[in-house]
């Protein structure tokens, strides 16, 4: 019996203790008409050995190939030190529960405290939680939190830039609309690709708003004028919610220093910090805020405290915000978060340090610049926007994006993110990314193949 240790003798002895003659008797309270027979599960395959399933999974993993990846769009192909997952996969991290029994969970708790400390260092804010599901849902939690936290207005309107990741905007809608929040789209500048203050003004009109979402870099890789946007939000009694890439923060002004007073909340996707692409998850969202908002912060929070002997130790804290205490009035329903990924992120950040992270960021930036040079040397390919970028770049193509990407994919090159469905106003356009893992040879190979395909393609309208 896979994973069940009971021997026939064990079963007999246990049933004897219970005074019943079969395990089935233990299910006597289930109405008999509801009991299903063995055949109810017939459509599920029979047990297979680990050897057989290993073969199956290896062949499926191989089937998906190892294409050369120039897609970013919210998930980034970074080097992950071998040590990260060798340690994070240790049974004591991997198979432990949420650290409810603090004394038996100091390993996980200290890791989470260190993670919180690292995230506050990166964002320049006071407090971090111990993770949320991913960047997009973290933004939704940030928005809900901002509405609760904003004492200056009862508005439930949120300004959301169109230059924010389209999937983030969708998730935001899914998660906050049921609570009656109104999401107001803020357009971007067609030449700069950024979100000017004037667009905020236009979107707000005469109304108030609870918060302004500011993505740095934005979905096009463009660097926003975050100081002005933050100050504008504060001038309008709105909280400023930063959506940031944690690797970029090695180079860019941290949200806590944006504008005169700093952003109020910062959130984002921690995937670039040691998490494999893995088809989209598990990743981890982070959420930081100013100290004054800590009691509105959703998710687990670890605090440092003292034990009976006065020695320092760590424990979950501020649990009064959480659903198992406050139930329907909790700051969020989240409980299980992304602890194992946070463990990986913490080890990853410890290995890189500030200088290492800066080297990664600078290499990504340089590779993307170089890719832009190579691609824009192809006739008909040009940058969509003028403003500087971090490590993604929107390019206008002389042919329909989807057909170009399909042709490249057939050669095992994932050429980037097709902007056309989400941004028809830019069509045909492509968003490319080159992380520090891409080599000069790979960039040239991409450019060479793109040029070849474009030569064969009919010009776009």
């Amino acid at each position: 019996m896979p994973f069940i240790p009971h021997t026939p003798d064990d079963i007999a002895a246990m049933l004897a203790t219970l005074g019943v003659d079969s395990i089935a008797a233990l299910f006597d309270e289930i109405p008999p008409e509801l009991r299903v027979g063995a055949q109810a599960l017939d459509a599920i395959p029979e047990a297979r050995s680990e050897m057989e399933i290993t073969r199956l999974m290896q062949s499926r993993a191989r089937a998906d190939g190892e294409p050369l990846c120039f897609i970013g769009a919210g998930a980034y192909d970074h080097h992950i030190p071998s040590a990260v997952w060798q340690i994070a996969s240790r049974g004591e991290f991997y198979s432990a529960y949420t650290p409810y029994q603090a004394e038996a969970s100091q390993g996980t708790l200290q890791v989470l405290y260190e993670f919180q400390s690292m995230m506050t260092a990166l964002t320049g804010l006071d407090v971090s939680n111990a993770s949320l599901y991913d960047g997009a849902s973290a933004l939704a939690e940030a928005v809900l939190m901002a509405v609760r936290a904003n004492r200056q207005t009862k508005s439930r309107r949120i300004l959301v830039p169109r230059a924010l990741h389209p999937a983030y905007r969708r998730v935001l809608h899914t998660l906050v609309a049921p609570q009656g929040l109104e999401l107001v789209e803020v357009g971007f500048d067609p030449r700069g690709g950024h979100t000017p203050v004037e667009r905020l003004e236009a979107a707000l009109g005469e109304e108030a708003c609870a918060a302004v979402v500011i993505a740095q870099p934005n979905f096009f890789g463009i660097l926003e004028s975050v100081d002005e946007l933050t100050d504008w939000a504060h001038a309008h009694q709105a909280l400023a919610i930063a959506v940031v890439n944690p690797v970029a923060l090695a180079l860019l002004t941290p949200p806590g220093d944006w504008g005169a007073k700093g952003a109020d909340l910062a959130c984002g996707e921690a995937q670039p910090l040691g998490m494999p692409l893995a088809s989209g998850g598990p990743y981890a969202g982070f959420l930081c805020c100013k100290q004054e908002y800590v009691r509105q912060l959703p998710g687990r929070i670890v605090g440092r405290t003292l034990d009976l002997d006065g020695r320092p130790g760590f424990t979950l804290t501020l649990q009064a915000r959480e659903q198992h205490i406050r139930r329907g009035k909790a700051t969020s329903n989240i409980c299980t978060n992304q602890g194992l990924l946070v463990t990986a992120a913490t080890i990853h950040l410890a290995l890189l340090g500030a200088e290492g992270l800066e080297r990664v960021a600078a290499s990504c930036h340089a590779n993307t610049q170089r890719l832009g040079e190579l691609l824009c040397a192809i006739s008909g390919v040009e940058p969509v926007f003028e403003r500087p970028v971090f490590h993604e770049l929107a390019l206008r193509l002389p042919a329909p994006t989807a057909s170009v990407l399909n042709a490249l994919a057939a050669e095992d090159i994932l050429g980037g993110f097709d902007l056309d469905p989400d941004y028809p106003e830019l069509e045909p356009a492509l968003l490319v990314c080159a992380t520090e893992r891409r080599t000069e040879d790979e960039l040239r190979h991409y450019a060479q193949r793109l040029a070849a395909h474009l030569e064969r393609s009919p010009a776009a309208s």
């Binding site: 395959p45 990846c69 998930a75 991997y94 609570q179 692409l277 463990t343 994919a409």
Partner: protein, 492 residues
């Protein structure tokens, strides 16, 4: 000592970052950071040693019996981990085209099918990232269903008082009012209260069955009929699905929507607090509202079904496809144990729970609902020990740690005073259960002879009992440069 406290200016794990990054010249100075973030500057050996040692300070399934009620801490097969971590899966970008994802999508599609069969539901979406997100999705589907029918009056969700805290929290997240229903003295729902509560404002009811009291709700068919007749829908909280796999199916009980905690029933790791995965299953009438993405199959080719394929969907819950790596682990688990194995899970989880309860009762402990069959978990009440000896359930819990057992869940459910909620799971052996009984018995003897020993527990762990009140009052949530506090708990 914190990793931050080990930092020395100029030290680093040299091989881990690009050796010769070019200078950054194209980012305007006004947007640049001017002081480096206070991340640790440490060597690779320091990092490896620090986190290896920290890991040793955790209890875990791989090192201890961990009978944490309602959490299903069963063995996480190592094959599930290594096969989900195959390079072909790990390297795949979430937005890679389906031409480069047939292997992955085949696994996910088959997992959807397995979950449909084992729960008796009509369709499944794997999108929710954890149980609570599954709950939200489920309740949001109930909302979408009523709205699609123009039935805007249904603003209320019924939740038993024994329910997990996430149930009311998720209902609130989805914009509902929560009305709590009482539990009867036998552990079943108070049907009179249910009848009184249902009405045209009832959007639905959220139930865990078996409930958090460790008993099967015997009137489930009556409840289903009552709620359905009132126009409401039934939500099944799958936290306790381990108890009934292959014995009885939520779909057959009349539930319209369910979530499944793969990190419980399908043995994916808990990871010190996640990641989980909370797929949702629905009856036919709710299918249009399932969260995206789903995996579809046409002519033997798999593809993601997204917003454009599913216009009535409640939408997207995370940026990409959810916790894919966890889904892969659950798939491997299901394939390893197969259909008979799925049914055995509930059988042996139930056998272990009933055996352990009986042995503890023999040893003189008081079980809640002793007249009922235990499901996969059961409740002890230590109110007598608390009253007579001044030793609480929490004291027992902490002292168990000294005996090398993780404590059961304490003080939940809220209905039973001084309770321990104990879930041994099917992967533990009889010897381990017997060892736990012996430890509980020994602790009670200690509580009689030397209660201070138990009240002061734990004694043999890296720290003694921690002051949670201090933690909440004197908030210390992050290390900062120059932090005067030393943490020596990890050494010695």
């Amino acid at each position: 000592m914190l990793i931050q406290a080990q930092s020395r200016t100029g030290r680093r794990a040299y091989t881990q970052a690009p050796l010769h990054p070019p200078p950054v010249t194209t980012i305007p100075d006004a947007l640049r950071r001017h002081t480096r973030p206070a991340l640790p500057e440490v060597s690779e050996l320091q990092v490896v040693r620090h986190y290896t040692r920290l890991s040793q300070q955790n209890f875990s399934i791989d090192t201890q019996f961990y009978p944490l009620g309602s959490c299903t801490m069963k063995y996480n097969p190592r094959a599930c981990h290594s096969l989900a971590m195959l390079p072909g899966f790990l390297g795949r970008h979430p937005l890679a085209p389906e031409t480069h994802g047939q292997g992955l999508l085949a696994c996910l599609f088959e997992l959807q099918e397995i979950l449909k069969v084992v729960t008796g539901m009509h369709a499944v979406s794997l999108a929710p990232a954890a149980g609570a997100q599954g709950e939200f999705a489920g309740v949001a589907m109930i909302r979408a269903y009523h709205r699609a029918r123009g039935d805007h009056a249904r603003t209320e969700i019924l939740v038993p008082d024994a329910a997990h805290g996430t149930n009311p929290a998720s209902a609130a997240m989805a914009g509902f009012q929560v009305r709590e229903l009482p539990t009867g003295p036998d552990g079943d729902l108070d049907l009179g209260a249910l009848h009184a509560a249902v009405g045209p404002q009832t959007a639905g009811i959220m139930l865990t069955n078996p409930s958090t009291l460790g008993v099967f709700e015997r009137h489930i068919q009556t409840i289903a009929q009552t709620v359905h007749q009132a126009g409401g829908l039934l939500y099944y909280d799958g936290a306790n699905l381990n108890a009934i796999l292959g014995q009885v199916r939520p779909g057959d009980m009349g539930f319209d929507v369910i979530h499944i905690n793969l990190h419980k029933t399908f043995s994916t790791p808990h990871g010190g607090g996640g990641p989980g995965a909370g797929p949702v299953g629905v009856s036919r009438r709710l299918e249009p509202y399932l969260p995206v993405p789903l995996v579809g199959c046409e002519n033997g080719r798999y593809r993601w079904l997204t917003e454009s394929d599913r216009p009535a969907s409640i939408g997207r819950l995370t940026a990409f496809g959810g916790n894919i790596g966890i889904l892969l682990r659950a798939y491997v688990y299901a394939r390893l144990i197969g259909r008979q194995g799925l049914a055995r899970v509930a059988e042996f989880a139930t056998l272990n729970a009933n055996y352990l309860r009986a042995r503890l009762q023999e040893a003189g402990f008081e079980a809640a609902y002793p007249e009922r069959c235990a499901s996969h978990e059961f409740i002890l009440s230590l109110k007598r020990e608390a009253r007579e000896l001044g030793v609480t359930a929490m004291d027992f819990a902490k002292r168990l740690l000294d005996y090398g057992y993780h404590a059961p869940t304490t003080y939940f459910p809220l209905l039973v005073p001084e309770c321990l909620l104990i879930e041994p799971t099917e992967t533990e052996s009889k010897e381990d259960l017997d060892g736990f009984v012996a430890a509980m018995t020994a602790i009670r003897r200690e509580a009689q002879e030397n209660p201070e020993l138990v009240r002061g527990a734990p004694h043999g762990l890296p720290v003694r009992r921690l002051d949670e009140v201090h933690a909440a009052r004197q908030l210390d949530l992050a290390w900062r440069p120059g932090d005067p506090k030393e943490n020596s708990s990890t050494h010695g």
